[in-house]
Amino acid sequence: MGLLTVLIFSLGLLLGLFVNESKLNYIQQLSKTQRADYGSLQFQYSYIETLENKDMSDDEKCGVLAATLENNLKMLSPALEKIEAYETSGDVENEDYLLLKREYTIANLRYWILAEKSKKMCMTDTVSVLYFYTKNCPECNDQGYILTQMKKVFEDSLLVFPIDTSINEPAVDVLTRQYNITTYPTLIIEKKRLHEVKDKNELTEIICPLYFNKTKYTLCSGG
């Protein structure tokens, strides 16, 4: 008699469990490819280090650097998606997630050093933003949102490096000490340190003058 209802409900619960399971499987599968990607980036970075002593023209060196930067970009954005997938699934205590996050942060920092190098050596027209944030910080969410939107406008010429200081990563500690980060969110834009949330207009005013070619973006020329 009540069998039908029991059936309906069991089905609902099973479906929920099944979807949750496949969600975790998806994330874990992504993690495996991610490992290989990080290894590859590590190699490319070491290779760049040897470039300075090599008998190559600046153009050639910049070519290699640009290719590496592009690879970084390609591999880092899916990594971020994965981290977000973990975060939305609420499984943030997962060991795999924490490890992933550390690896992502280190890769990001490496990418940041490369970008700085490229700017100095090859005059690439980019602006780098180091974005320090922490857990349980509502203002950080606001700042993160603005940076995401800014990134959509400036695309590859605005490089945002989000750094979650709440993970236990010595490399992050080095940076927070160097830049003397005590409050969150804090932005480091080309040596300038900015506390508190900066809205779109404030950020535009800071970022635009830093480009070599200022007329390229309507946001900068329009005021």
């Binding site: 209802t5 609902g12 699934s89």
Partner: protein, 423 residues
């Protein structure tokens, strides 16, 4: 927020399960098969308590006069409860004009509906007394169809199917659907002796039973609910029939609906509180063990709806406005997105979406549709295509609106509790 989720989905789960279980059992029994027939005509008193009802009372009295029942076994008592309008003169006019039926008009200072009913019952000559609200209109054959239920000596009350009179706007259409859905649920509840209300629009009471419990509670704001609890306390049978019809005028705008529902909600909380000893009390059978806990659960569900709306709609809305503010209201930037962003966003939504909840919502929705279809059948109504549009609104918007009215009722209660300590 995790514990809130557990409580709410738990309540959802249990109440939905019980509803399906109950209806399923009901449909298997099919109580329609045995239809009692009226053998003799007992004397019946129709009581029409009225307070400022000059617009409707004439038609109400007419509907009572036109009932298909032997004239000599029928009397009508109109109780004017201190109306400030023409209610009294309209009633008196009928009393003079009508020759074949005894119409008694009582008049006193405003004392409330419960007290008015009690005074009329004291004067009533009938073996059965009927409560007929002065804004409701009874169908011709209702009385004849309902009286046979009293063959069973344990039956103390029989209520007609309450329907919204000629719905004119969408709000009244929604209430029309709501009423037949509730009528159906009450028909189902009758089979397990769990009726918790004997609606004022048209309910026949056995006078001896009313005397036994001491009549209506004169202080209650929902005297038709309160009396049901006390009848249940004495183990009387309460019946929701599916034969007789009574149409009533439903609130035509949100303000009127709010006033009505605030009174209902407040009244049901107070009544449940007054009779809290019956909750989970085995002595009162399924009424104590099933019906009262379900009412309590239903109240919690209304809260669940409110919190779901706040979390699912108001919070995200606030967030979007905040985002716009952070972008200095630059709309072009607000809408900036690219294809890969859209795809990854879609994937994220797909994986973060809670399919278990979606499934429960779909089940709930289908159950409600199925219940509505059954409700049409059991209240002798045809399913109209034109009702499909209000139907969709019915499930989504209507209950959300009611939930927020629920907050108003609770705020009111807290305020009045500070003034005078009830219960």
């Amino acid at each position: 927020m995790l514990w809130i989720d557990v409580v709410f989905w738990g309540t959802y789960f249990v109440s939905l399960y019980l509803t399906i279980f109950l209806v399923y059992t009901f449909l298997e029994k099919n109580p329609r098969e045995k239809k009692p027939v009226l053998k003799k005509h007992p004397y019946v008193s129709v009581i029409i308590p009225a307070y400022n009802e000059e617009n409707t009372i004439a038609n109400t009295i007419k509907s009572a006069i036109n009932m298909d029942y032997p004239r000599k076994f029928l009397e009508i008592i109109v109780v004017n409860d201190g109306s400030k309008d023409k209610t009294l003169s309209i009633a008196k006019n009928f009393a003079e004009k009508t020759k074949d039926i005894a119409i008694l008009v009582m008049n006193h200072k405003n004392v409330g509906k419960g007290a008015s009913m009690n005074r009329a019952i004291a004067k009533a000559r009938g073996e059965f007394v009927i409560s007929l609200d002065a804004d409701s209109f009874v169908a011709k054959d209702t009385l004849k169809k309902m009286l046979p239920y009293f063959e069973d000596k344990s039956v103390a009350s029989v209520s007609a199917v309450m329907k919204v009179r000629t719905p004119k706007n969408i709000l009244q259409q929604l209430q029309w659907l709501e009423y037949i859905l509730y009528a159906f649920m009450k028909i189902v509840l009758t089979t397990i002796h769990c009726l918790h209300v004997t609606p004022g629009p048209f309910t026949i009471y056995r006078k001896s039973a009313l005397k036994d419990i001491g009549g209506f509670d004169e202080t209650s704001i929902v005297e038709d609910q309160e009396i049901a609890y006390r009848l249940q306390r004495k183990h009387y049978c309460l019946v929701q029939s599916y034969e007789g019809d009574v149409t009533t005028i439903a609130p035509k705008n949100l303000k009127e609906l709010y006033a009505q529902r605030k009174r209902w909600f407040k009244g049901s909380i107070i009544t449940l509180y007054q009779h809290r000893d019956m909750i989970f009390n085995k002595k009162y059978g399924d009424f104590g063990m099933y019906q009262l806990p379900s009412l309590l659960g239903g109240m919690m569900l209304l809260f669940a709806v409110i919190i779901m709306v706040v979390r699912g709609f108001i919070v995200p809305l606030y967030e979007q406005i905040r985002h716009l503010y952070l972008l200095n209201f630059d709309l072009s930037m607000y809408y900036t997105t690219n294809l890969s962003g859209m795809i990854s966003g879609l994937i994220n939504t797909m994986f973060s979406f809670d399919y278990a909840k979606l499934f429960i919502i779909i089940v709930l929705f289908s159950v409600n549709i199925a219940l509505l279809i059954k409700a049409h059948k059991y209240t002798n109504e045809k399913i109209k295509i034109a009702n499909i549009i209000p139907l969709v609104l019915f499930f989504i918007v209507y209950f959300i609106i009611l939930s927020f009215m629920w907050i108003g009722a609770i705020i009111d209660l807290i305020k009045s509790k500070q003034k005078n300590n009830w219960g």
